[in-house]
Symmetry: D2
Subunit: 320 residues, 4 copies
């Protein structure tokens, strides 16, 4: 057990985000973990590391779309695994619609959802979207499906589908578009569990659309196996967390006895006490071989919308 004296944070006028993070590095609790997350991510960027980003939670509606698209464009990440919802909301913004924040001191206490229902407005915590945005989404998604070649035996992987969607978007701030431009694959194993899935079902009632449930895994596992070093940045748990980590389970044991991810950063508000995977510790992942026994790893218990911008701002300063 290595001990270091806690050094209290010192705040100065006009200090940069990175200067603040370095001060937090002397602290314990969440402050110290935030600083450690930046250090680990910096090492991932400086070493030749293939970086897997897991995205769960409504990060796009909350305003994290730009920063994630930036991470993709600047290759802070090499592979993305996400929920369908974040793709849906990325498309909505790419098509020119917006998410709206409810301006109230304690929004969740005073919203009348029955009334919202009458207004054609759908709520995500303190954010709302209008029904029309989803109507526009439907037209767009069907247009993408129309362009696919589903004749004969052709079966698409989900990753090919997300790529096709991205190719039909022109918004540079779109995560899906940025992924196409930067050749970053986007995986979405539970895509059926989203508006894209719903529209795929409706489309399939009358047209051919063949998407294979298991086709993605080969590409993902190949990327893992070919990587020199591997890192996972897990935002919020859920299916993306498990899908990234399980990749390590079937990867042939690599040379020198290395197994599992070499680096892991987990940012979540879930804690281990309910036994679910989202809040499971990274130590637990070591028992499975999902992350290496000697991996550099940290769990940061924080709202991602607070922690992620800080981390990326500090890294921009450190490594550009």
């Amino acid at each position: 057990m290595q001990l270091t004296a806690v050094e209290g944070v010192r705040i100065g006028r006009g200090m940069s985000v990175d200067e603040l993070v370095r001060e937090l590095g002397g602290c314990a609790f969440g402050a110290g973990r935030l600083a450690r997350a930046v250090d680990i991510y910096e090492e991932m960027l400086r070493e030749e590391t293939t970086k897997f980003l897991g995205i769960a939670g409504a990060l796009v509606p909350a305003g994290m779309r730009n920063v994630i698209a930036q991470m993709v464009r600047e290759r802070y990440v090499d592979v993305v695994v996400t929920t369908g919802a974040n793709l849906v909301h990325d498309i909505i913004e790419a098509l020119g619609d917006h998410h709206y924040k409810i301006e109230e001191s304690a929004a969740s206490d005073t919203v009348d959802d029955a009334w919202l229902r009458g207004q054609g407005v759908d709520r995500i915590y303190d954010v709302v979207v209008h029904d029309e945005a989803f109507a526009k989404l439907e037209d767009f998604v069907r247009g993408v499906f129309d362009k696919l070649d589903c004749s004969g035996d052709k079966r698409y992987s989900i990753r090919e589908l997300t790529k096709a969607i991205g190719e039909n978007l022109s918004d540079r701030n779109s995560i899906l578009r940025s992924a196409v431009d930067s050749e970053v694959p986007i995986f979405c194993p539970a895509i059926a569990d989203s508006m894209i899935g719903l529209h795929a079902w409706i489309y399939k009632q009358t047209e051919a659309l063949n998407v294979d449930a298991f086709a993605d895994m080969k590409e993902l596992i190949d990327i893992f196996c070919e990587a020199k070093r591997t890192g996972a940045i897990i935002l919020g748990g859920g299916v993306p967390k498990n899908f990234i980590f399980q990749t390590a389970l079937v990867a042939p044991t690599r040379e020198e006895g290395r197994e599992g991810f070499d680096y892991a950063i987990q940012i979540t508000t879930d804690t281990p006490e309910n036994g679910g995977l989202s809040g499971a510790t990274l130590d637990e992942a070591k028992s499975w071989g999902k992350i290496g026994v000697k991996a550099e790893a940290v769990t940061l218990y924080s709202d991602v919308t607070i922690a992620l911008p800080i981390i990326i701002a500090a890294l921009q300063t450190r490594v550009g």
Copy 2:
């Protein structure tokens, strides 16, 4: 705003679970919500209601397999949507393996996961599984795949796959087997995100296995649309929660202006403050039309492994 005087719980010797729940009915906070969950579930069972069960979290490893299988066999539920992990662990027990509990006062504090790794033991909070159980799982799952007819154009839905797995199990306490026997469909939209998915990928390297990512939705939506009344029992959030609720989004508006689920019970330790769907309130679901504006609905903030057995025990007494 309707107010009722809180009546303190009174504890008697030898009281039954249902008697205790009725006492809790006079209380507020979690106690009152637990009692209300039982009342709502009872009404679902007495009225002609199609009941959708969402299962997330490692409930089978924790010991909830029997009670869920019982719910399926006795038609306390009519449709199941689950994570792949619970199916994997159901199979493991059906094949004769076990999960093991770490007997320590505060297990999570003193476990050495690197050591566990060396022992070939995988940890899920205070539960472990041996690697051999997964080896046996692989043999079994490949055997099921072998029996599928993947010649020609045949593409399986995931629900057909879960049914085929259940048909190959003989353990009456298995959720998958019980579902076959009781004609309860099991959906698992993110099945790729599980050991079953990993073995499907390996199998597909050399054999034909065509599972369609979107084929399930027609069956699920048809069930919803044909139901006289609909109820959702959501254990733990995640993909199952959203997949069940989104069914209501595309269901054609039913007669008399009804829309969304008529009943909803959510048992979770996630809270709304991080903005994620798992912890979103059922009121928020009303703004989307996922549950009806006048639905009978309650969120119970509790470890499912505590709340679910109590609820089912009380219902057994009330409705058998």
Copy 3:
């Protein structure tokens, strides 16, 4: 590391609370911890153990008053340490007023607190109290102060003050009254932080009222030191948790190297990740010597209003 095969819970019609708890004993996660809490408490009751109960959180407004009073009357506990608020609400009910539950499916989402303010109604989550109840409280508390003898040098301890309050109540279901009848001392180190404290301040503006901030500790520590064995039941953390545990820090080391509490049960929804004491693990308490290195101890992550009635119901059956 001792491993036991998880045995799934089996639910039967009309089963008693204790039968259910015994079934949960084969499970992991919260279910297993709940069963272990009952086992530890049962051992405390069967062995000659001095039992310290810590009460934080608004348990009385939620409906836990009867069960806590019962625990006091039947000597399931020998010492109580509580927040001032629970005493205030115990008095309110003893004086004939009530707490009221807001009957709504998801109360916290739709309450308009500004409107409540106008109605003279004060909210505690899904419970409300009327302003008049506090007016009646004031008259009563001042009456108690009037009867104290604050002439000369006399300084009361807080424990003497809570006893004086209890002596002036006649409601058998009152915690304070039950404590007087059963000779169970009630400590309340932060009593200034309550309506009792506010009224004490107002009273002191014109009358003599001398309550010593530190006088209680001798009695509490003497009880600890004279005990054959000691147990702590911590409901919800806060000041009561620390006040009980710090008692062990100054107790002279007992014979045979024993130190710290011999038994500890902690029921809380706080988790360790924020570093605060309320969510700190019982293992952490071992490093301080607050609980013994070999103590029987369990933390149960649960809403107390769910867990406590179950535990007491099971114990009633086991030990009466």
Copy 4:
């Protein structure tokens, strides 16, 4: 309900903390709330506002001592209400001892607290303190008690006691010393529930030490009543939160119908669902008149050690 389009955060190289916070201002969820907390605090500092700071949780051991001392010295706060533990740890550092951080990726998983006990080391999550630091504390505190004049009728208030302690410290980074220098009163209603309380008890065994449990409230309420505008900054709930807010309950209604705090910022990881006060919403506080119906108020769900340095860094830039 006022709606504003969410604007995604844009990250630039070398950006300052305040620039980042302004970007977060376009976001929702925690990011938006963090930005709003800074705006509200800025308004408090620009308007003539008496600012009450509540401190719970082990903020000093985690490294927040400097920033809190800075807030006191620069009169970002005018009144402090704290737990005893933070005072204890402030003294420990002022006497030259240190807190030590356990350097591990996931510290809580692998610490052996029984072993720590043998080493004379006490743990607070991922921080430890040596027993010797507490021995030095005892000598110091007894020295302070010796200097008090407890002859005759003299009874100290707790606030006078904290002042006396501060006067005996010379470390400029001490919160207690800074409070003396800046004439900021420090209240600690539950001081008995701390090492200071323990040593007070031991001291009282042989010496006179009269500290009145209720004497503080007059000073606190007078400060509230004389304030032009009032603001509360609540770090972590607990007794300090309630003690600050209850002040508003007995303040005579001020001119123009104003009642309750005018501003409130709450930073916590507690959520409302367990019904306890620490996680109670600020809206709930409005029903009591603790904060004004039209107060500018925000709850930020965050580890304080992350949020507080960001807020103060942004404010330093904005108002110096």
